[in-house]
Each structure stands twice: as structure tokens, then as C-alpha cells.
């Protein structure tokens, strides 16, 4: 790596970048837990944590093992996120394979009944509140992702606002501002709901890890 690039890297606000990247790695690990059913720490090889993933990504970029080309990707944080994603993908290849297999053999959302009104602007999709998880059967019943989906709906159903946010997300929204507009509430309220939802869903990881059948 040439000196100019290193100086540019050295001049970054690493106090901020490091924790932002740790958060990115954290959600990657959490999401992995949803589909593998392996709990809060989805058994990444060698006990690697979200912090380790973020650290390794930064180390690779600073030492030039993964070379950042600002001309190609000016946003260093985005580049670092890509490095984390590639580390996760590499580490959990077998888990990814399981996930893909689930989809190929019948993604549970593909089997989800479309009872919705085709004229409701939601493309006729069913409501998440109608979702029923597959009972354990000779095929082993629901996949971890399907169980997560069901448990999430169950965990949020006591709070109509949370369920509404979940449903809007299911319908394709992923920006707090869009959800706020759709619900007719200030965006700060969506941020608070998001935090509340995150806390509730975090509790599911334990249930998923224990392998409880739903």
C-alpha cells in the first residue's frame, strides 16, 4: 500500500468507523442466528464474534490484504462492510448452504397463502398475522427461519404498533422515514419502535437456540 493511501486511512475517524462496523457485523451475526436457529452466537468457527469480524475487516484493509480503491468505492465504510460480509459468507459457508437448500426445497414464504385483497395495493399478499408455521412432521417441521418468523409475529402481536412496523417491513419498507409516513407518526417514534422490536426479537434467539418447537 502506498504512503498516500495509508495516510488517508490513518486520517479516518476510527473511533466512529470501528463501532459502526461492529454494529454491521453484529446484525450479520444476528440475522444468521435467525436462519440457523443457533442462538445469540450462531457458532461462528473458532468462537469468532461480531467484534472479531469487524476487527479482522479493518486489519485486512489497513495492512493492504484487502486493498481499498477510493476511485472505485469512495465510501470506506461501505467497503469495510463488504469485507465483513465476505468474511461472514466465507465463515458460514455450510450454514449458507443449509439456508439455500431450504429455499430450493420450498421457501416457506413461497408457500405462504396469499389471502390478501389484490386491490389493497399490497399485491394480494397475506397478512403476517395469518401466518401459520408448519407443524413438526416427518420432514422435521418448520425450518429455523420459519420458526423465527412465526415467533417474531407472536412476540410482536401484543403491540399493534410493533406488528404494524413488522408488517410494513414485510411489505417491502426498510426506511424509518417511509414507515413513519405510512403510519402517520413522527420518525423518532419509528426509531423508538425499532429499538423496542430489536429487544423483543433478541429474546427469540434464546428460544431458537433451545430448539423449542412451535
Amino acid at each position: 500500500m502506498d504512503d498516500a493511501l495509508f495516510e488517508r486511512l490513518n486520517a479516518q475517524d476510527w473511533e466512529n468507523l470501528s463501532v459502526r462496523l461492529e454494529r454491521h457485523a453484529h446484525w450479520k451475526v444476528q440475522r444468521l442466528g435467525w436462519v440457523t436457529g443457533s442462538g445469540k452466537n450462531p457458532n461462528l468457527p473458532k468462537g469468532i464474534s461480531a467484534e472479531d469480524l469487524a476487527y479482522q475487516a479493518i486489519e485486512r484493509v489497513l495492512t493492504g490484504t484487502r486493498s481499498w480503491n477510493p476511485g472505485k468505492e469512495p465510501d470506506l465504510f461501505k467497503f469495510l462492510c463488504d469485507v465483513v460480509d465476505s468474511l461472514v459468507s466465507h465463515l458460514v459457508n455450510s450454514e449458507e448452504h443449509k439456508e439455500r437448500k431450504n429455499q430450493v426445497n420450498g421457501d416457506f414464504l413461497h408457500d405462504y397463502p396469499d389471502h390478501g385483497d389484490p386491490g389493497d395495493g399490497r399485491g394480494g399478499r397475506g397478512l403476517v398475522s395469518d401466518f401459520q408455521v408448519a407443524e413438526p412432521g416427518h420432514d422435521g417441521g418448520a425450518s429455523p427461519a420459519e420458526r423465527f418468523f412465526y415467533l417474531a409475529i407472536e412476540a410482536l402481536s401484543g403491540d399493534p404498533d410493533l406488528l404494524r412496523v413488522f408488517e410494513l417491513c414485510y411489505d417491502g419498507m426498510d426506511k424509518a422515514a417511509d414507515i413513519a409516513r405510512s403510519m402517520g407518526v413522527p420518525v423518532d417514534q419509528v426509531y423508538r419502535l425499532k429499538e423496542k422490536m430489536r429487544r423483543r426479537l433478541a429474546k427469540l434467539q434464546v428460544v431458537l437456540k433451545e430448539g423449542e418447537r412451535v
Binding site: R20, Q30, D171, A176, D178
Partner: protein, 144 residues
Amino acid sequence: MSGKPNNSESASEFLDRLAGFLWQEREGETTEDICRELREEGLDPERMQARVRGLIARVSEERRLAWMATAKQEIQEAQARRNRVDLSGLDRAQLLSRLRSSGQIAARGLDTPLEEMAEAELRELCEEVEWASNLDEEAPSSDR
């Protein structure tokens, strides 16, 4: 980006969107906001920051040492090139005279007196003495 999914959306795509929403960046959030969020999730952001500070210090030091080693080697090579003396034109008498006047022979404690050495040995010794003398005179007083 928000948008309507189609009916063939996979569970994986939906879970990606949900996770992206739950941990998305908030406009105007500070480093402390992010740290607080991570602490609430049971992580230790200060440890992460400290590890990265240590990493930057280590990589910077490794680069500095590598640069110094390269620079030192380049200086020595340049000096060696500059100090290489062509003694091929000198005869035995001239080589002896040059060695005696260098003042370094006594310190070397040679087993064989100069007068008994072959001309090739004298030439080799003379080159070595000349090179060492020049290096002593031109070497920098300290590392860069």
C-alpha cells in the same frame, strides 16, 4: 430501498430487509449513540475502539520500521557503489604503499606480513581497506 416485494420474494430477502431495518444507521447519530446501542445489545464498543487504536499504532510502527530498513539498505548500497575503488591498474609496489599509508593495517592483526602476500591478496585487502575507510567517513551520524 423501500418498495413492494413481489410474491416470489424469498424468506432470505425478507430477513435481510428486516435486519437491515433494525440495525440501520440513524441520521445524525453520534459515535456515543452507536456505542450506547451496542452496549444495550451486550457488546463492548470501547474494547473494539481500543483494539482498533492498537491496530493502527502497530501497523504504523511496522510501516515505519520497514521504511527505515529499506532506507538504510538503500543508503548502504549507494555508498558501496560510490566507494567501490578500481585498483586494477596498481602494481604490487603501489598496492603495498597504499596499504601502509592507510593506517589500518596494524589494527587488523594480519597473520601474514604484507610483503609475503600475493598480489591478488594485496589487491583484495586494499579494496577492503579503502571501502571501509570511505564508509566510516561518509556514513550518516544517525538513522533517519
